[in-house]
């Protein structure tokens, strides 16, 4: 049994993927030094031609990875800041995501984009605190947000093995998590949700680090409300069958999502539920505000993120 941290799980996933397949390589800024955690020790183990320190040229190295993916490699690209994905949106969406369809299926595009520390990192302020996974869902890029160390391992392995581009968000709020694990961890198939807590009265869909908070709120409400907590794990493709199964039973829904409200993942989940399930009460979203820019001061930063007490109130409101 190992007391595995989330960061170490990512690190192990990369190491195992590289050991299993010589086509896997890792590139990004300061990956040699392992600054962000997931690449720690990999350069010493696999060499500088499989763990590449890149200059400050995100656009070029993202397309560099695409070129390598089209010609036999399985690159993993690490980004130090979630909003660096804005900088390479063209390269990920317009080039990598579209390549296969535009060429009539001539190529596979096995590319993984890893963002360790997405969302708020207290004190990093406006340009470093985004949680922009909905952008990739909208664009149609496969997107995962692991909530636990085991899932971080399993989903990252699956992402690297996948033949399409996948963006992996590792929320800063989850990276401190630890978990007891035994033996070899299995990959977690993309597109499979996980019921983290069974319940009868209401389904709470929680994303990433908010899964732990949702479980806590569910525990707090124990006796009062029976809360089912569903962790989608993959946001695209979403496990709609799992949502249908859960909400079809509870017929009440709250989505807990640390991202901007408008056109977010919470909106999509609520929309699908409204289309497909005869809900007993209006669904609720607990999210960041519209167009949120996280202010620096800690109280303001926290106030811009969804709060457990808001989730509790929302759960109570839908079961009322």
């Amino acid at each position: 049994m190992t007391w595995l941290s989330y960061t170490k799980a990512l690190n192990r996933a990369l190491g195992d993927a590289m050991a299993a397949d010589p086509a896997v390589c890792v590139l990004g800024e300061d990956v040699g030094a392992g600054m962000a955690g997931p690449t720690l020790g990999l350069q010493a183990r696999f060499g500088t031609d499989r763990v590449l320190d890149m200059p400050l040229s995100e656009q070029a190295f993202t397309s560099f990875a695409l070129g390598a993916a089209l010609t036999g490699m399985r690159p993993v690209v690490e980004f130090q800041i979630p909003s660096l994905l804005f900088l390479v949106f063209e390269q990920i969406v317009n080039q990598a995501h579209k390549f296969r369809l535009m060429t009539g299926g001539q190529a596979r595009v096995p590319l993984t984009f890893l963002v360790p520390g997405s969302g708020s990192r207290l004190g990093w302020a406006g340009q470093h605190s985004d949680h922009p996974y909905a952008l990739f869902v909208h664009a149609g890029v496969k997107t995962v947000v692991p909530a636990s160390p085991a899932d971080a391992y399993g989903l990252l392995r699956a992402a690297v093995e996948d033949d399409d581009p996948v963006v992996v968000f590792a929320p800063a709020g989850a990276m401190g998590a630890r978990e007891d694990v035994t033996g070899q961890l299995p990959p977690v198939p993309l597109g499979s949700a996980r019921v983290r807590r069974a319940g009868e009265d209401v389904t709470v869909v929680a994303v990433g680090h908010l899964v732990a908070e949702a479980l806590q709120v569910a525990d707090d409400l124990d006796g009062e409300v029976s809360v089912e907590v569903l962790d989608p794990r993959t946001l695209h493709p979403f496990d709609w069958a799992a949502l249908r199964a859960s909400v079809g039973r509870t017929r009440r829904l709250v989505v807990y999502d640390d991202a901007n409200r408008g056109c977010g993942v919470a909106a999509e989940v609520v929309a699908v539920a409204a289309e497909e399930v005869a809900l007993l009460a209006p669904p609720r979203r607990v999210t960041r505000p519209d167009g949120a820019v996280l202010p620096f001061a800690p109280d303001l930063d926290r106030a811009s993120q969804p709060q457990p007490h808001q989730l509790r109130d929302a759960v109570r409101a839908v079961v009322k």
């Binding site: 190295f61 560099f64 493709p237």
Partner: protein, 349 residues
Amino acid sequence: MTAEPAGTDRGTAAPVAGARRAAGEATPADLSTPADRYRMMRLIREFDTLALEWVRTGEIPGGIHPYIGQEAVAVGVCAALGPGDRITSTHRGHGHVLARGADPARLLAELAGRESGLNRGRGGSMHAADLSLGILGANGIVGAGAAIAVGAAWAARRSGRDTVVASFFGDGALNQGVLLEALNLASIHRAPVVFVCENNGYATTLPVAAAVGGSAVGRAAAFGIPAVTVDGMDADAVREAAEEAVARARSCGGPGFVECLTYRYEGHHTMERRMRLTYRSPEEVAAWRARDPLERLRPAVPAAEIDAEVAALLERAAAWALSEPRPDPAEAGAYLYAGGPPPRPGVPV
């Protein structure tokens, strides 16, 4: 998902490069003799002339960026490449794709949106690709190919192959951030890439002088990349410069940069015909036309014979392409993902 449309009869569309190419086996065009190169330039010229006509008649939806006038660049560079090498191309890509050996019939079918097109009708002019020939795609975004080329070059080198990648782009692309980043990346990784700048004097309506501070070759050199300027209307001059850069890249000497001074005879895009634009004087166009790359080579080759050959080939290719079926609209989402569940439709089914 649609399966590969196997067994489609492409017999009538014998590739222009002729003998070296067995059915179904992708072999880059053989451009080793002057006649080969003249033939390919003629093919490109007539291909795009036909394509212009098809845009007019609506056989090609949308429009194209014609390559006419720039043939010597594509042919000169591709003549310097070997069978395992690769290219990245641009929005003005027909010349590159053909010069690398893509089947003109299948390219025509692509432009006409047919299932047997190079990209099964999914890409069209700006995305034409043939990965079996190492053509990593035309590209609708200016400057986007360069970094893809660097990555492909690095990957090949890493796996022990001595593959070189030639990356085509225009003068306008010299001002794209990602291309400038790519020059640096190639330089520090000593990636076997030959950057080919087709300086045709304009980015759409904007003249180079108003857009490019410094010079193309000065820029490349500043990133530590050996750079030369050649007459882009002379296929041999282009080929020689490319050969030197390819040889250096292949022998681990790092990237090279070749600026080809050239000109497009037609408008930027077929849409331009509808507008009355005055950014180029008729005299300027005439002066460049007088330096035509095909006319230059003509005396040295059996031109009349080749011309007839190309005309016949294109006629067969055109007839074949137009007889090919269009893709099934039910397959509009095919090929989006290599694996996993198919994408949800826009309305529930």
